[in-house]
Amino acid sequence: MKPIARVNDFVVKFANVNGSGSASANGLFARAILRMGVPVAARNIFPSNIQGLPTWYEVRIVEAGWRGRRGGVDLMVAMNPQTWEKDVAEIEPGGYLFYDSTKPFPASKFRTDVNAIGVPLTAICNAEYTDARQRQLFKNIIYLGALSALLDIDPAEIERLFAEQYKGKEALLDSNRKALAMGRDYALANFACPLTLRVERRDKVGNRIFIDGNSAAALGAVYGGATVAAWYPITPSSSLAEAFAKHCGKLRTDKATRKHKYAIIQAEDELASIGIVIGAAWNGARAFTATSGPGISLMQEFLGLAYFAEVPAVIFDVQRGSPSTGMPTRTQQADLISCAYASHGDTKHVLLMPEDPRECFEFGALAFDLADRLQTPIFVMLDLDIGMQDWLTEPLAWDDARRIDRGKVMTAAALDAGKDFGRYLDVDGDGIPYRTYPGTHPSKGGYFTRGTTKDRYARYTEEGPAYVDNMQRLLRKFETAKMLVPAPAIKRATQATRTCAIWFGSTGAAMAESLAELDRQGIYLDQMRLRGFPFHDDVADFIADHDHVFVVEQNRDAQLKMLLVNECGIDPDKLISVLHYDGTPITERFITREIAEKARVFNVTPLRKVAR
């Protein structure tokens, strides 16, 4: 079998045992390639357990810069005997199998159409180290060394990463270098290096950074001025709260007193998390919670209160496979409806939909301004794929001239100047009333917040007209929100077309690649990436301009389509769903196949057939 030969365009997958310290070595592998100027798209694939069970790390080396999964594996680093069969089966014909050859394997364990590269990792380790933990950790570095030789990764880049990581810890630095060299030397001595898969230096990374969405969103919360965070641990959102703690420790600790300009509460449950957020925001602090689908379910009652009593709140929903506990370590975009219409009664909520960590940061910060401006909950809809994976993304940037927008807050001075204060009074016609913070003024501006009906001056009433008046104003406020949430990103196809595609969030990674491929096949699609809800007026206009509209999303029930039909009054037949919901991130191959097939049905036959 002829080996697969590719430069800067192949997939390496590491099959590891959870808790074996492989994550650090695998991360170094991806970052060394980035340092060579070659983009990667990397994903951890992990089951819901802590130690001893299988975990995978997939690195797509892709000079073209695509950020989605490709599917298939060209080189498997099979470090977990437990998953050996499955891992070996996954390799593309002509691909490579890298394994620990210390113990002999029977021939039946291998495939004839796959090239086996055995390195006696355990033997090398045991000869060098006596300590059990050292043997385990350095085994990872040794395979990294071997791979660097096999794939032509510049060892100097790995050494530089070591130097940054172990600054001031010379002993550790030396031992890592030594382990790396052992692996390299073995590979160079025993195989024809490099293999037919290799990395070649390029300048395709630029100043982009490698960061996960949760960490970026947490940083957005810091820059957005959040001071109170309340959360209850749940995968895949926990690392967002933890990242906030880490960022605040560095960026929000008073230099002189070491005191904290933030407060983080690990609450007793999600009900308490959102209650704390609402209490803090009612009292003028910027507050958020991070959760996933099950937590959103628990927060429903409070979200209705926040909507109706008009209290700001920011909720980062890092979506996972649902319903119920579903697939806790898998990705989905299936909380759209439960967030957009969260709670009992007539409610509608504002959603922000970042497509990558860079937007997690931007929307993370923006959410706090919007929450204060609109005095309502704002949901930032991440998912596991954006939240927990490192993505190559534009560097984070901040305009130092930007100021925190606290929205309509009436001050003691304004009250003294005789301003008419009605907590639910629409003075500007945008549906947004003024509020006062508790403790503002000795005799003016105090009001009672309640979930029951009130008049424009926050006085309790059960009168129907007052209720309707208030509910109508809330609708006007929602109209205002349309203009404040990020507008959709619209892009035209390379040729005029009556067909288009709509998507949001992490789907964008595979979508970009798929659109390029479809274009190559002669299927032209105008493109609209949604970035916020309620939908901007452009959304309905864009759909009206097309005959066939593909709506691509990662859930079973076509939730984005439901929102479009419901909010924009669109004929459901016009929207053709492309749905992916097995818990793995949607791929370019999947979207391309689905769209190409369906496009043929309504006669958008490719102008020229291109073999793939």
């Binding site: 300009k261 983080i264 209650g275 704390i276 009292n283 602090a285 305009d399 503002t440």
Partner: protein, 351 residues
């Protein structure tokens, strides 16, 4: 219906406190509760306490859940911000509010249904966290607002108005509060204002989680023979372990007392509690002793009232979180937003 605020015309001769406020300034809208409801007496005690403590009304934030008891914040401190939240979840909202601004006084008002049933979890956790507040449960043994179902504090064997006998064990919120780390724990009776007002005042002065369980009869649904939360029953079985007086820090203790049976407790801000022992063996600084005493008296059908436990120099949630002295809601852009330079450094570490 829309409830009208009381006319704001003040009688010129009304007595004023040190800040120049009259009692009227501490009142709220006219109560819509049943005439004779214990909750109204508690509102009156709250009004008197804050008036006498010389606290500006707007420096108090009052938060509640849902229930007749939770409606009462409308009926006192009308100039204060209030938050009638959701059933059983006042503690989390109060916790958030307290995080946002450590400079206000937080008064949580709840019912026995609100705190002992649907909100038992939040009740427990706010006390564990040592939130600086006064948490009052207006305890009538029933759900008043939903018309008289047993609550979780109803005693086993007590009878409902319809004659149903409660077969479940009661939850004693005082015992729970002690176990969960509240640093000021008291029980009062809405029918005994002279005992109640100093308890509330001392609780306000205490820094940390102060909890007062106030037995507050529901005249509509739980004031009949066979109830252990009726006016008559509580009067007959009230075992008051002490009575107290409270002095804010600046005032010297002027009253004279007969010698013996007196104990002074100094609070965080210099305020002082003088306890007059009614039960010679009762020591409110001994938590384990308090729990044992409460259990043994409860077994005999007695309702123990008074200041049951106090640990005066305990810290609060903000101490534990090491937050800055400035309220978090008053931090400036410069305090909060690290700027582009910090971001550039971060970017550099992610390549």
């Amino acid at each position: 219906m829309t409830y009208l605020a009381k006319p704001k015309i003040h009688h010129p001769d009304l007595p004023k406190n040190a800040l120049g406020f009259t009692r009227r300034d501490y009142e709220g809208a006219i109560s819509t509760l049943c005439a004779g409801c214990g909750h109204d007496s508690i509102s009156a005690a709250i009004i008197q306490s804050f008036f006498e403590l010389d606290i500006a009304p707007h420096r108090v934030a009052k938060l509640s859940g849902i229930g007749c008891s939770s409606k009462t914040p409308t009926y006192f401190l009308g100039n204060s911000h209030g938050f009638n939240s959701v059933h059983g979840r006042m503690p989390s909202v109060l916790t958030g509010a307290a995080l946002a601004n450590r400079d206000l006084i937080y008064l949580g008002v709840s019912g026995d249904g609100d705190s002992a049933s649907i909100g038992l979890g939040q009740f427990a956790h706010i006390l564990r966290r040592g939130v600086n507040m006064v948490y009052i449960v207006e305890n009538n043994g029933v759900y008043g607002l939903t018309k008289g179902q047993f609550s979780a504090t109803a005693d086993k064997g007590s009878k409902s108005k319809r004659g149903q006998v409660n077969s479940d064990e009661p939850i004693d919120l005082v015992l729970l509060a002690l176990a969960l780390g509240a640093t000021f724990v008291a029980r009062g009776f809405s029918g005994d204002k002279t005992q109640l007002v100093p308890l509330i005042k001392a609780a306000v002065a205490h820094r940390g989680a102060a909890f007062i369980d106030i037995i507050s009869p529901c005249v509509a649904f739980n004031n009949h023979p066979g109830s252990t939360k009726s006016y008559d029953y509580v009067r007959e079985h009230n075992d008051a372990v002490n009575r107290l007086d409270f002095w804010p820090s600046r005032e010297p203790i002027t009253a004279e007392y007969p010698p013996g049976g007196v104990r002074d407790v100094e609070l965080f801000d210099g305020g002082r509690i003088r306890l007059h022992k009614l039960d010679d063996d009762y020591d409110p600084s001994n938590k384990v002793g308090a729990m044992t005493y409460l259990e043994s008296r409860r077994a005999q059908g007695e309702v123990v009232t008074g200041l049951l436990y106090v640990h005066p120099d305990s810290g609060d949630m903000h101490d534990a979180l090491e937050t800055v002295d400035t309220p978090l809601n008053a931090l400036s852009d410069a305090d909060l937003v690290p700027g582009n330079a910090a971001l550039a450094a971060l970017n550099a570490s992610l390549r």
